[in-house]
Subunit: 448 residues, 2 copies
Amino acid sequence: MSGRGKKIPVIGGGSAGGFPSAHTAKRFYRDAKVSIIEKEEKTLVPCGIPYIFGTLSSIDEDLFKVDYEKYGIELMAGEKVDEIKRGEKKVRTEKGREIGYDKLVLATGSRSIMPPIENSDLENVFIIEKDYEHTKRVLDGLRGKKKIVLVGGGFVGVELGDELRKREYDVTVVEVLPHCLQLVFDDEFCELVENKLREIGVKLQTGRKIERMLGKKKVEGVELDDGTKMDADAVIITVGTKKNVELAKEAGLKVDDTFGVKVDEYQRTSDEDIFAVGDCAYKFSFFTKKPSSVMLASVASMEARIAGANLFKPVRKNIGVIGTCSTAIRDTAFGVAGLTEKAAKEEGIRYIVGNATIPDKHPPAMPGMTRIKMKFLFEEEEGEIIGAQLCGSHIVGELANMVTLAIENRMTIDEVATFPAATHPCITAPPAFYHLTQAAEDARMKIK
Amino acid sequence: MSGRGKKIPVIGGGSAGGFPSAHTAKRFYRDAKVSIIEKEEKTLVPCGIPYIFGTLSSIDEDLFKVDYEKYGIELMAGEKVDEIKRGEKKVRTEKGREIGYDKLVLATGSRSIMPPIENSDLENVFIIEKDYEHTKRVLDGLRGKKKIVLVGGGFVGVELGDELRKREYDVTVVEVLPHCLQLVFDDEFCELVENKLREIGVKLQTGRKIERMLGKKKVEGVELDDGTKMDADAVIITVGTKKNVELAKEAGLKVDDTFGVKVDEYQRTSDEDIFAVGDCAYKFSFFTKKPSSVMLASVASMEARIAGANLFKPVRKNIGVIGTCSTAIRDTAFGVAGLTEKAAKEEGIRYIVGNATIPDKHPPAMPGMTRIKMKFLFEEEEGEIIGAQLCGSHIVGELANMVTLAIENRMTIDEVATFPAATHPCITAPPAFYHLTQAAEDARMKIK
């Protein structure tokens, strides 16, 4: 169908969920009126926010800039939807505007919340929000400061640490778990991350909790749970996220308090005319089919391309969360696809590990050659690949994506081991020692 | 089985076929006596040879260096096998040495041949051979020269052109077909290659044949088929390859004159105790099952890992040649996986094309961002992905490999379009505009 005469508004547009939903809807239903209702006037690229604090020369370089007209999408910026009137098939914005819909997509995302820490209302204690004006305030607030404490060693904390060092701030990351990125990688990869952070001068306090902020009006320091006191001119808190499900809840859609707006594998909510994608939407694991609390741009974007296509007829199905992500500290990238050992153990999945450390160019004398460390997990019984972790040069990002493809297709050890990877001296590992094949062969030898 | 008491020699070891065959054999049959019989004393990394002429600081940096002992493989270097005595299950070398086998692997490869061009016996007319001493002679022969004509605009010609320019030679590539890399890419990608070559100062004479070499004792120039004469201090010929199948033929194995030593999908020759892999071995297309004349390290390496595992029991199967390869000219890489439009047309395969040009970092303001151009082919009926061509930064190498994985798993347009690629500002495209998904969506819109 062409979608002629149909109205398809998408709530939320500056994310990996909203825009691709609208884009896909317009691709599939080219005569429909597709619009994005976005509460912000200016929208930031969410993953780019840490880079505003170092690499990028201004906050405006991180604006999500799309030629909406070119894609045939109407953008209503600065309009916050405060009610979905399902009976009338309309949404209403705070400004009182009413917008009718035939099919509605919720891409309301998630938001950062300030965790309950004593004195966190002091000046120069910040959280990171996906919000232009707020981010500008944080950026301004750091001006002239020296010592910064980052609370949380997840992706945002690690990336902010790297970026703030580029501007020569004195940076300490405080992480309550034993390691940074502990929820993402197995310990030996966390340690590689931490080594790299230390190498660029980021101080780490892992296994430590912030007890309270110190200071009177402005923050002057933090106190840790072991009594350690550290000076700080500013504190940035990168822990605590909440799914934006209030709108859906108030409209009477089924919402799971932990996992978000209930959707089926076609991204349909409990109302067949309303779809939900991204952080706000319920997800399930590719491996176990259990609900998943992962919030990733990769998953949001996949769900968007499913929802956008399915609006008037289900054609695409969600395969569940494989859970691939990557980050970089300077020239070193880190990637993970699928399950870690930790995750596999938690799920009671028996696995075989294959390791390999492989040059990213060949012969190894090629200038700029660095080695990539890989760890692969295969399910023991069927030999299917279920996960990988990687550390090395920037091609790690796409290697992690390759593994995701292999996982999605449930490739076995022997299939991965005989993968005919193209290789070239300047840009890849050698044919005789290619990453995927070598890690698979290493695992293969452990089959009894 | 452990392979105890079994002898497994591999003939040919400095290639993408020989070493991985031995390595895999040793992995699968750890108590077997695995050896490599290699005719050269010093073996070069074949794909690295062009880089000896520019990037690498000496020929020795391109030596294939492996700690054979660590892998439990015995290396017999400088031993050329001149007979396989199948009755006695022995091979004999030129030096008269006899080596028994239980299972034998032929990885005899291919060699360059001088095409029949008038006066090609003049001094300073060279071919490129996978041979240390020969390559050294070419390298020495170019010393002090200025003008070099490269005959052939395939991978080796293009890469040599790039490398020789790094040492400031005056370089002209003469290619008989209308474009460089014409047999590998569709025309618009060939043109990107040619633009890049011109940009770095390589002169091109495409659609032109060398009529004869000019000069008396030493080469002084070349004459083209249109009568054009060009000065040259040296000529390097990079066309003409022959499979090394003589040994197999003399031993009475079935050999196809065009496509090499006949093997089944387990890499077994017509003698069940002899396996063949790599350039010397018969291959078939993944797509059409027809014989394939492709000679690629990626394919050799895959076949090696199949043969090595299958020696005493077939466990791995050859899926056929997908045909992925990549190259780079300075910072720009070019990759192809599967079928081009040209190839699909020749085979009468109906297809849909999807195009996308996508940043390799995001937001686009990230320093060093370049755009990657992709072209995808999907088979029209089932919507399965059958090919891709890419041009852009060095991650193109792994993107081509990702496409190979997608092809191998016969993924459909909708599966590729909803692929949950992990993305990161420093190292990948944005989630809303990822290479694979966008090229797939573009194609998706062309389905009637």
